[in-house]
Point group: C2
Chain length 114, copies 2
Amino acid sequence: MELSTIEIEKAATILKLLGDKTRLTMVKMLDTNDYCVCEFVEIFKVSQPAISQHVRKLKDAGLVCETRRGQWIIYSLNKENEVLPLVASLIDHLQNQDFKLQELEKQGLRISCK
Amino acid sequence: MELSTIEIEKAATILKLLGDKTRLTMVKMLDTNDYCVCEFVEIFKVSQPAISQHVRKLKDAGLVCETRRGQWIIYSLNKENEVLPLVASLIDHLQNQDFKLQELEKQGLRISCK
DNA sequence: TCAATATATAACTATTCACTTATATAATAA
DNA sequence: TTATTATATAAGTGAATAGTTATATATTGA
């Protein structure tokens, strides 16, 4: 089976984007669950605009999709993305981040968006 | 078989490092051949200090090794690196860069270091 | 020993980046 | 309609980054 390869330049752009702890964690988390901005704000302990700016970059690169649900905007991994194979194999090497969702639930902050 | 996973923070550091077109190309090229600084200078059309600074960063991260051979310092991929599995699977997704070596040879600049 | 070549380091600069606060937009609920 | 909540955008700031030129260090060969 042939592996479809990616241009160096495009790959470098993706890696730069994911070479940030916050965004990389977001993508790892989005691999198993969807999240809204306010949940990320709780998880990452930074300002809401900072989170908005991070997800914007992920969206601009086509890595995530957004869906409005009432006043919340839910972000999910974009499974259609051309570079998904690269991103997926990368994510596989990362330590599981489920504990972040568990913390969120323990604080009763997960349900706020459902 | 279990895949050994990497801390998010460590992975983000590696991805930031490889989120640069020049360094990413270097690593892809080093996957199949060794190179010295002067060859990289020819290939990337930037100053010699710029190349030295790039390989220094790769070396500091443990991704490459250096071996002095006369007046040349040969760089190679460090196969002992803890994050090699991540880097290797990443490299697999990149377009082949052999044409750069071929150009170098066509210009008669490859042998200068042998 | 001395000139030439290869590489590294220092110092500087312009640009990018991640964050902040302030404010705008949008949806919900009283 | 109006207050509240969620999100986005604008503007500003300090730190990091990739490049440059100048210079130092190290090896080779005459």
